[in-house]
Symmetry: C2
Subunit: 236 residues, 2 copies
DNA sequence: CAGTGGTCTAGACCACGGG
DNA sequence: CCGTGGTCTAGACCACTGA
């Protein structure tokens, strides 16, 4: 693990362990440089990382402060999918409906940037949070990249398997959000009524080298759908 | 303007002007260093910024590539609110319903971190996109920070005024998303029917020094609500 | 104006991708 | 193995905050 990641992890852990609150001040840069015995840029890089994650904010001429959003029970939309590890307050379970190798529809081929006769894994799952239906998820994986899947893997965290099992590096993703009304089929899976609202999210995941490998369509139960995003206005 | 911001802007402009597509390769670091006559770290910082904005992605050992999401007509959820300047494909207009100075409700006081007898500006607006209702927006501004507002300012971009007119620096924001059904009042403003789906977003904006100054509650017309988020898995 | 964070440099060395 | 991006350093100098 890289120095600046290691340091970021330790600082984050420190904030957690000491239950620091929004606005609490961290030691000044010079202190941190001494404490971790690294150069200024390395500390800065750690802090930039934590800032990106929404853990701290830095104020020039003043200090480095803890950032916390109030509100419990919200799921972080961007914590890199498979909200699995968000907070252990949530218990997420998964029911696998389907797992097949198929030829892609035009839509899937387009989003995964593959040809009509390439193979894809098609996975359909319902996910539960604390026993309630959370979402219906239909995912498509480029089989040339995700070479093997089985029911066991798919009922756990697929992303963990992709990283650890297959040794692939997940890069960036594009999320497309809509709000709409549930179809009869979706309502059935989620235990709701047709015509009720839904949050519908399509996501394309890419490897670090830019190759798309996962196209997912997720329909959320609106009753469980409370999301938080910690945004950064550093780019504007 | 700082060097690395300037360079980022130029590179982005270059990509736009030459209509580069996803996967197109940019010159190697050495070339860029020479071209802009800066050190490696400065170029790197520019590219990191562009990566955060979703404009490029960098692959170690290979190169720097243009990132583009397909799909037109989506509004970027995170492009720092007041989607005003997103793409000029959209024409956003604003109708001001209310503009008052009031005492905050408990909810508002909590989110703005002020006392019950502090003053806040309360602004209620309906925003239109290409002539259709886009959203109903109810915003509350800490009057101790946003010292003056009038109907003219409020019918244009408030954030532009905050930055340029008041010289304040906008920092980070917390977004809370829900999906729900329209109340009768909301439906009226949006020209929809009660009980139809809505995307409901509450946002707390902070200055760079961490002070919250704007608490907004936005109800989106689901028919116009297509959002895109370009996420980065650099933190995980 | 002292304290503190941010920018920028020049250069050494490391790690990954792909032929 | 080469080309390429990423990390890390030490230090100079700049810019903002707040007393």
């Amino acid at each position: 693990m890289l120095k600046y990641q290691q340091i970021a992890t330790e600082i984050e852990k420190y904030i957690e362990d000491h239950a620091l609150q929004q606005g609490d001040k961290l030691p000044v840069l010079e202190k941190l440089m001494a404490q971790f015995d690294v150069s200024k840029s390395t500390i800065t890089k750690s802090l930039d990382l934590l800032e990106k994650k929404g853990v701290v904010f830095q104020v020039r001429g003043s200090g480095i402060f803890v950032r916390r959003h109030k509100r419990k029970g919200y799921i972080s939309l961007l914590s890199n999918q498979g909200f699995k590890k968000d907070l252990e307050e949530f218990t997420i379970t998964t029911e696998v409906i389907e797992l097949n190798v198929i030829k892609p529809s035009e839509e899937v081929a387009l989003n995964l940037n593959i040809k009509a006769d390439d193979d894809v894994y098609s996975v359909k799952r319902v996910r539960y949070i604390n026993g309630q239906t959370l979402c219906l998820e239909e995912s498509f994986y480029n089989k040339a990249i995700i070479t093997y899947l089985n029911k066991e893997i798919v009922s756990e965290s697929i992303f963990h398997y992709i990283r650890e099992g297959l040794g692939l590096k997940v890069g960036f993703s594009d999320l497309y959000l809509h709000v709409d009304m549930l179809t009869e089929e979706e309502a059935g899976y989620l235990g709701l009524k047709q015509g009720m609202p839904k949050l519908y999210v399509e996501t394309v995941f890419h490897l670090t080298n830019g190759q798309p490998f996962d196209f997912s369509k997720i329909t959320y139960n609106y009753e469980q759908s409370q999301f938080v995003i910690q945004a950064d206005s550093h780019f504007l």
